[in-house]
Symmetry: C2
Subunit: 213 residues, 2 copies
DNA sequence: TTTTTAAAAATGAATGTTCATTCATTTTTA
DNA sequence: TAAAAATGAATGAACATTCATTTTTAAAAA
């Protein structure tokens, strides 16, 4: 590849990046503004005008991207949910032993929530509140399938308790949301050590306990 | 006790009940209306006029009982929180063995949430949302002290893991909130059997695992 | 017991503000 | 230079809160 064609392809790539960005930059700014304001004020207490200001665009522009306020929040929810599930399954392959797989996914969840605190709070907010349409909410749950499959595999192997996915999720994953919330609101600190401890507790709760013979 | 004095005391009691009720009936109607509407619409999407209508009083009357909308929600939150903690510790005495004590309290929590579904959803809503003032929120946490003390006792006895109260709470109590939410929203059913299973998972997560010798 | 009366409680229409959404105009793009 | 994108002031609806008026209460007087 000579210099000329390299520069040509580079300029094309940059142009293409910019072209992609055009509206995507705005869309991202909008999403982040929504998340930020919703977690600190609540959805209905956050005016569109403030979201617009935070995203450095005009209120009218929001309506070029989303039909209305409800459509905005549904889409932001789905976007975050997708990013979340994308992040947590990235290192997972389904031929790894169950406990190790679970550990990998669990740590991905913990690390995602610790890194993307705002998004984590936003998800908690949406999941405990009637602001999201039922349809979008159902859509958001689907993405967890690989984890449910993993649990089923564990159950077949006699490693994981025969509880339904809701119960397993409640003990193995949901507590993390509480810890992140506490970390934000109170003075609780989630160190590497307590993360390890929290994982052990998650695993202890869903694994089948071996009895002393 | 003769008939006369019986009737006298009865009329006194009724009068006293009615006397107590006067504003208490309204206050209760107001609280229940708020809970009902907040869990189905969210706080900021619930107008005072609707709360008033649901409680069968006039919008203006609310302001005789509460300073403003924020004051109303703070008070409802504290009221429910108090009722909750009152309910869950009612059979607890601190000279019962740790595991049994925990089981008693845990089942009280589960049963309260199953019976008072609206209140349970309301608490989830408030605890994951910025609608409650920090001050009221802090006030609401205090009431859990007996449970924290129990855990400390368990830690001293070497029965319960040496995790901080936040972590213990996240695994031993918080998952119940998820299960109740799921029960409401989805088709998940919480039977006596799965309740037992959930308790076992809660206990398995916080107890110290004995190693095979 | 019935009537009177002043205080307390409750009412709901009116007020002023906030906000979602629109659209005529301006700016940017290619 | 025409089409596309963005703007932000204007509109109308919704809502929290107020307060002049009405209703209820219960104690005092008849």
């Amino acid at each position: 590849m000579n210099v000329h064609s390299f520069l040509l392809s580079l300029s094309y790539q940059i142009k293409h990046m910019v072209a992609l960005s055009k509206s995507d930059i705005k869309r991202n700014a909008l999403i982040n503004a929504t998340i930020k304001l919703v977690i600190s004020n609540g959805f209905h207490a956050t005016p569109m005008s403030k979201i617009a200001k935070e995203a450095c665009i005009s209120p009218g522009t929001i309506y070029l991207y989303y039909k209305n306020k409800q459509d905005l929040i549904n889409n932001v929810y789905l976007h975050v949910k997708q990013k979340f599930t994308q992040a947590i399954f990235q290192n997972y392959t389904n031929n790894t032993p169950v406990e190790e797989s679970f550990k990998i996914i669990w740590y991905q969840i913990a690390d995602y929530r610790l890194k993307e605190v705002a998004e984590a709070l936003f998800l908690s907010h949406c999941d405990n509140t009637p602001i999201i349409d039922d349809e979008s909410r159902k859509e958001g749950i689907k993405h967890l399938q690989p984890l449910l499959d993993l649990w089923e595999r564990g159950q077949i192997d006699g490693i994981i308790k025969k509880a339904c996915p809701y119960v397993l999720y409640a003990y193995a994953v949901y507590p993390l949301a509480f810890l992140i919330n506490a970390k934000q609101r109170d003075d609780y600190e989630l160190t590497d050590e307590s993360k390890e401890q929290a994982f052990k507790m998650a695993w202890d709760s869903i694994k089948i306990t071996e009895h002393k013979s």
